[in-house]
Each structure stands twice: as structure tokens, then as C-alpha cells.
Point group: C2
Chain length 458, copies 2
């Protein structure tokens, strides 16, 4: 695959970066995939493991000089192929830039390098009584830089917001190696266009995030109440979650598992949860109103015929949420899994679940689905047998296509929190319209005129 240009580029990178550059197949092999199941099966040219902002800038200057496509990468835990590299591309990893540069208790902010793992940051912060809110399911293994690049969500968004609400400022290295300082350390600020917000969720296409000033909250303290409510069907469970929101209750987390999900978990854990009801709604309340909110939620649930347990013990609550966390391991025990990620207005949850059942029947494939019910974000899952090159079978994409169209028709979106990456590019114009897609491409070109930053993604 190596061309003379590639050899020259590698020479320049070696001179500038020394040991930070690797062309070792052992280092390159994992870079063709992420956690989406997608694999390019095509080794990239090289890996730069940046140790500093200067390394990132040197890499981008050389990439610009040689017009080399660059794939920024954190921990590679993405679910849309956004960090998947292939032949001729340079992977720029910020995983080794993982220091906490500053924590200000008084200003409730931290300045961090992008490679720090979300859970590692929070372990440090907890000792100071502080908390970085973004809480993707991957938090034990995903980086803060990756959380920002995808505007990561998670279980707590309805009450506590998404990553965008937790970032005050960024240092961003552009395609040509220049660095911009975006945002500020103050809580508020409206000077100029809000490029901090624009970069959040831009999936590595506008620049390389090399430092982030993140907003912290006081650590949650006090009582937590957790409800596990079983319902005979998903429509009633979705109605219960809607009624809880309508009653001005703000659960920290509200998770809905459909019948197929429960049966998978039953098989995996050797239990019989579905025996109590075909759908499970988990509700956790916290904060000063925790007990009152949980009591109100319980009344709504039992009023709608739910069969519910409630616990005020944090450890017992964790055990109930362990059911939710068993879902993905349960599916992975059954085959390859494509995790989808649509979002709809909360009131459309029953309609979306009904549409998923129709799509299951139309294509004859099961689509076990869980939802962050408080914010209308569903994760329908496809369990499949990969094709010869490891690819997702086309019938799955046809079913997904039907699903995306329903989500859009309901006023929702292709992706609630995972991003577009490679996997959803073909549906982008269905949501945004051709005019907006063209305009977004032009905006990307302002940051990256040569189109070398994560081309074909986002």
C-alpha cells in the first residue's frame, strides 16, 4: 500500500515524533474497528500516540503537508464507526494524553487532557465532592475527549443533561496544526459564535480536541430510591414513564426494557424476570425530593397495573440496575450485535415501540429494545450472523432503514447519542435535508480545507 508520498510522510512523522509513531502491525490491527461491530479490515498507514499538544500539532502540520487523512481516536469505544481507520490513513491517538491538569473546587471546573477515562476523572473528583456528569454506559472505558467528540449521553440525561452542557471550553488543533482556544472558564459567555458547542459532537471532523475545561457539579449525596416495575406490555410501561414525567417527577434514570430484552436477560442470567411481566421499567430518584418523587412514581405505576418493588437502599438499587447492565452481555452471548440509537419525543415512545414490533414481523428478525425512557432515546438491537467480511447483513440495514424513517416521521432523530460515524452516513440527508448537508460540509471545509480530518465520518 505504501506510495512514495506515504514513505516521505512517514519519514517526516518519524523525524518530528520519534517513538510516538508506530507502523507495527500489532499496534495497527485494533485500529480498524471500534465497539460498533464495524471493521474496515484494512490496516491504516501508521499510528501516532501523541504525548502532548505539540505532538498533535506536529502531526497535523505534516498531515496537511502530505494531504494525509487523519483519524483522531480515543479509547475506540464508539458505536458508529467514527474512529475506524483504513488503508492510507493516519490514526492520531490522544489516549496517552490523560492527565488532569487542574481541578478548581471553587469554580467547579476541571481542565483535562482528552485521553483521560471518564471513570478515572470521576474517581479523582469524588474525593473532592465533585462530579463530571456525562455518564455513557461506556464510562469505565471511554475517554472524556471521545465523550465530547460524540456529545455522549447515557442514563442520566433527562435530569442532568448531555455532554454539551458539561463543557466550558476546548483547545482544538486544526487540520493545519494551528490551535484555537474556544470558550472560557466562566459559566456564562456569548462572545462570538459558539464554536465550543459546534465542536461537541462533531466526531473528529473539525479538529483534534487536545484539552477540555469541563463543568462539574457537586457529587450527588443523600437518599436514592429505586423502583423495578413490571408491566404486561411495553405500551403500558411507556405510558407509565410518560405519566411520571408529566407529573413533574425528574428521575435520575428511567430505563425501559421490552419483552425480548427481558427474555434475553432471563436466558443469560438463568432467572425468570419475564414471569412477572413482559416489560420492565426501572426508575431511580435522587436528591432532596427523592423519597417524595419515588412515592409519586410508585403510585402512578401501580395505578397503571404495574407490579413494582421499591428499595431505598443504594446497594439494592444497584442490583436492580444490574438487570439493565446485563442486557448487552446477554445479547452478545447470542451473536454479533448492532446497537441502534434513535430518539423520539417522549410521547412517541409507544408509537415507536409499536413500529419496531411491526418491523420485526415484516423482516422476521427480533429487535430487542431498551430505552432511556425519560428522554425518548431507544436502543433497538439487532443480533446477527456476520457476512463473509464480517459485515452486517443487508436485511438488517433494510429493517434499520424502516426504523429510521419512523423515528424521523415522529419528529425524532437518527442518533440520540452514538453519532453518525460511518454507519449512518447514508441516512444523513433524510434527516437534515440536502441543503443542510451541503452547508455542514462547507462548515467542515472552513476548519479543514483539504478534507483530511476523519473523512467520510460524522
Amino acid at each position: 500500500m505504501d506510495t512514495p508520498e506515504h514513505a516521505a510522510a512517514l519519514g517526516a512523522l518519524r523525524t518530528a515524533l520519534g517513538d510516538a509513531l508506530s507502523v507495527d502491525q500489532i499496534d495497527l490491527a485494533p485500529l480498524t474497528a471500534d465497539k460498533s461491530g464495524h471493521d474496515s479490515h484494512s490496516l491504516p498507514l501508521a499510528l501516532v500516540t501523541a504525548r502532548s499538544i505539540a505532538d498533535v500539532q506536529a502531526t497535523m502540520r505534516i498531515a496537511t503537508e502530505f494531504q494525509l487523512p487523519v483519524v483522531p481516536r480515543g479509547a475506540g469505544t464508539g458505536l458508529a464507526g467514527g474512529a475506524v481507520a483504513s488503508a492510507g490513513q493516519l490514526v492520531l491517538s490522544t489516549l496517552a494524553m490523560n492527565r488532569i491538569l487542574e481541578v478548581s473546587v471553587a469554580d467547579e471546573l476541571a481542565v483535562v487532557e482528552p485521553g483521560i477515562i471518564n471513570a478515572d476523572l470521576n474517581a479523582e473528583l469524588a474525593a473532592l465532592g465533585l462530579w463530571f456528569v456525562p455518564d455513557p454506559a461506556s464510562k469505565a472505558i471511554s475517554t472524556v475527549g471521545g465523550n465530547i467528540a460524540t456529545n455522549a449521553g447515557g442514563l442520566l440525561c433527562a435530569k442532568y443533561g448531555v455532554t454539551r452542557e458539561a463543557v466550558l471550553g476546548l483547545k482544538l488543533v486544526l487540520a493545519d496544526g494551528r490551535m484555537l482556544h474556544l470558550g472560557h472558564r466562566s459559566v456564562k459567555g456569548v462572545t462570538g459564535l459558539d464554536l465550543t458547542a459546534l465542536v461537541i459532537g462533531s466526531e473528529g471532523t473539525l479538529g483534534v480536541i487536545v484539552e477540555a475545561t469541563v463543568k462539574l457539579r457537586p457529587l450527588r449525596t443523600g437518599a436514592v430510591a429505586t423502583i423495578a416495575a413490571y408491566f404486561p406490555d411495553v405500551t403500558t410501561a411507556a405510558s407509565a414513564s410518560a405519566a411520571i414525567t408529566a407529573a413533574a417527577i425528574r428521575p435520575a434514570a428511567m430505563e425501559l426494557l421490552d419483552s425480548r430484552s427481558l427474555h434475553s436477560i432471563d436466558r443469560f442470567l438463568g432467572v425468570n424476570l419475564a414471569g412477572r411481566g413482559e416489560t420492565l421499567l426501572l426508575v431511580q430518584t435522587d436528591g432532596a425530593a427523592s423519597e417524595a418523587e419515588a412515592a409519586s412514581a410508585l403510585r402512578i405505576i401501580t395505578g397503571l397495573g404495574g407490579d413494582a418493588d421499591i428499595t431505598h437502599d443504594a446497594a439494592a438499587g444497584e442490583e436492580l440496575f444490574a438487570i439493565r447492565r446485563a442486557f448487552h452481555p446477554a445479547l452478545e452471548a447470542e451473536g454479533s450485535v448492532l446497537i441502534e440509537d434513535i430518539a423520539v419525543p417522549r410521547s412517541a415512545l409507544p408509537a415507536m415501540f409499536a413500529a419496531i414490533v411491526e418491523i420485526e414481523e415484516r423482516y422476521g428478525i427480533p429487535i430487542p429494545t431498551v430505552a432511556h425512557a425519560g428522554d425518548g432515546n431507544l436502543h433497538p438491537n439487532f443480533v446477527y450472523t456476520p457476512g463473509p467480511a464480517g459485515e452486517v447483513p443487508e436485511i438488517i440495514w433494510r429493517a434499520a432503514d424502516d426504523m429510521f424513517r419512523v423515528a424521523l416521521a415522529l419528529g425524532g432523530t437518527l442518533s440520540g447519542e452514538h453519532g453518525i460515524g460511518i454507519l449512518k452516513r447514508r441516512w444523513l440527508a433524510d434527516e437534515l435535508g440536502a441543503d443542510q448537508v451541503a452547508l455542514q460540509d462547507q462548515i467542515r471545509a472552513v476548519f479543514d480545507p483539504l478534507g483530511i480530518l476523519n473523512p467520510g465520518k460524522g
Copy 2:
């Protein structure tokens, strides 16, 4: 002033828009100013009072055809000159597009036209138990479109967020008359670049907001506690506010009035607040933890030597906050007022107040200052005698210049919530850097290649 091109443009506008077009001096006269005190003293070419999206699109198509600069305008309550028009410009008012198109209680969202007044929307929503959070001091007279165009803040941001956090989607008419649908009706969504966030705070330079899907919250209910605490000096008062935040208390509002502010209010109201202490800190708590938070805040305040009253009566709390609201009328009784709007990290409030005192002494001018203390946003005010053309005297700008430099050095920003408009353009590069200013200009050019949308602003 009228050129043949202007006459042709006006002819085209008249044909397309009929009565929605006015060239009457009585209609044009107010358009040379906003609430900043700045006045162009230069009548614009014409005013279009759009009644529909189609009117806005027709206006922009004709403006593009004739390369006519367009100043989008709501209620004209801005504090940075962003909606100030001058000769040769067309003012496009969305004030008459003021309908609530939809309120979804289940989805906690409203779809509104841009011209609706913030308080009018909230009056309708209150009957449904819902609340549009953005709470600028101008809420009784400012439009939701203007709130979005400036990413308006207010007194409640530390706890409840800024306008950016309250917008789900926008319809935006581009310079050439095409319309984009940005965002969605779901709470979450990460499809493509976040252009909704980019447009919020863009001060009319990217397009004309013709519809907004806004996120609502349940109306606040239950007890409210209000504390008025007098301190001998601003540093101690700022320390108290910092200690309240550090104790994980989240007041709905926390306002700090310095000595000069209190004395102005005393003169205006004929009272003697400053007799109790030279600085006033107002703290209001709400929600389930209201009483506990107020008790904790009171302990902190008295521990630092504050002389405090507390009330649990909502009406009495309103009376205490009426002191704060008397501030601007009190200043306006003394002369022309320039309201400044810097923000710093909370911990830098004492340093910023100290710097303001130094600047007062350096220039021999009083700078009465109030702060949204919970989020570090200060409003230093200059009372001045206008120059012959009504302009702000240059000594005021020199003092402001010193102030901006200190705010930036402390990690803050030129504008916490009012925007850049005309008045702060000359400091933009001091905060953003020349590279970022150039990049922002290029992004604006993507939306508006001819540069006809609110040129010279933002």
C-alpha cells in the same frame, strides 16, 4: 440616500410584500437604536414587518438579489447594538410573528414564532403547569427570537441554564431565502453538526430565526426562601456567595449589589439600605430542598459577618428582589447608562470587583456594579453625559477597555449574556484571537456569502 438600486429593491419588496413594507419615517425612526443607548442617527432604507415565513423568505430573496444589508429585529431590547440599523439597510422585523403554534404537555415543548414576548409565552404556559426557563431582565418586553439570537441569560442561569439549554430546534431562513430545519423534537440528538447551538447567540448573522421548538420545564412549585444579607464590603459578600456555591447549595438566584449600587438605590427610593452594610447579597432558594438550602446559606452568611433577613413568604421575597430591580431605574435617573456585561469564573469575583474599584480611581468615574454572583456574571455600569451625537464618551470606553482586559486575564469573557453587537466588536480579537475571528467570519460566509445579514455585528 436613495440610489436607483435602492428604488428597484424597494419596488420589488413592495410587489412581494405589499403593506408589510414601510418607508414611513415614523416607522423607521425607532430602528436606529436599541436599549444599549447606542443610536446610529441614520435612518434605514425601509422596514419589513413579516407576517409569515413566506414574507421572511421573500424579503431575503430580494435582499440577496439586490445585495441589500438586512438587520433582523425583534423587540429592539438588546444591550449591545445588535439590532441597530443605519442608512441603506433593510430592517426585517419578526415582532408580528408572535403566535404559539403548539404546546405539548407530554413532550414538555412548545413551537413558537420568534416574535412572541417571553412573558406572554410564560403566561400561556403557566396555565398548563409549564415554564420556558430563559429569564432575562427584559422578559416582559423581549422576544423569544431575540432571547435565542443572543443566547440570553438572566438571574436563574446558575441553577436553570441559559437559553441554549432551552432550545430543541429552529427553522432558519438563510440569506438567500432558503429555509433550514435545525434540530428535532426529541430531547437528545447528535445527527450532524449542532447547528441549532451554533445559531443560538449568533446575533442575526447566520440567518433569520422564523420558528423555534423550545424545551419546557414543569413550573416551579412549593416553598421559596429569600435572604437579604448586608456585608461591610464587596469582598466579603463575594466570599459568601462563593462559599454558598462551594457548599453545594444551588440558589435559584443569587445577586450581589455593590456599595455604589446600593447608594444609587437609596437615593432613588429614599431609603437607607447602605446604612445596614455597604454591599447586599440576595439569595433565593426554591424546590424541594429550598428550606434546607436557605438555612445552610444563612449559616454561611452570618458566619462571615453578614447582617441578614430571611423570609419564607413569596411576596416578601419579591419585595427584597424589588431592590435589585430598582437598580437600573435608579441609575437612569442619574444620567445616560452603559450597562456592561463581563463574566469571570466565580472564584475571581473578588478580584474583578477589586479591579473595578482600581479602574474607578484611575479614571475618576464611578462604576456601580451588580453581579449574578452564582455564575460570575457582572454588570458594571457607567453613568455618563452623552457627547454631541449622543455617543458614549471615549473615557468610558477606555475604562471599559481596562475592565475587559482584566476579565479576560481572569479566564472570563467580554460578554456574559448581552452579546457583542456593535459595541464590543473592537475587543473581539482580544478574546478569540485573530485566527478564530477569521474562522468565525468564514463560517458566517458559508451561511451568508454576500455578507448581507446584520453586517458589522456579533
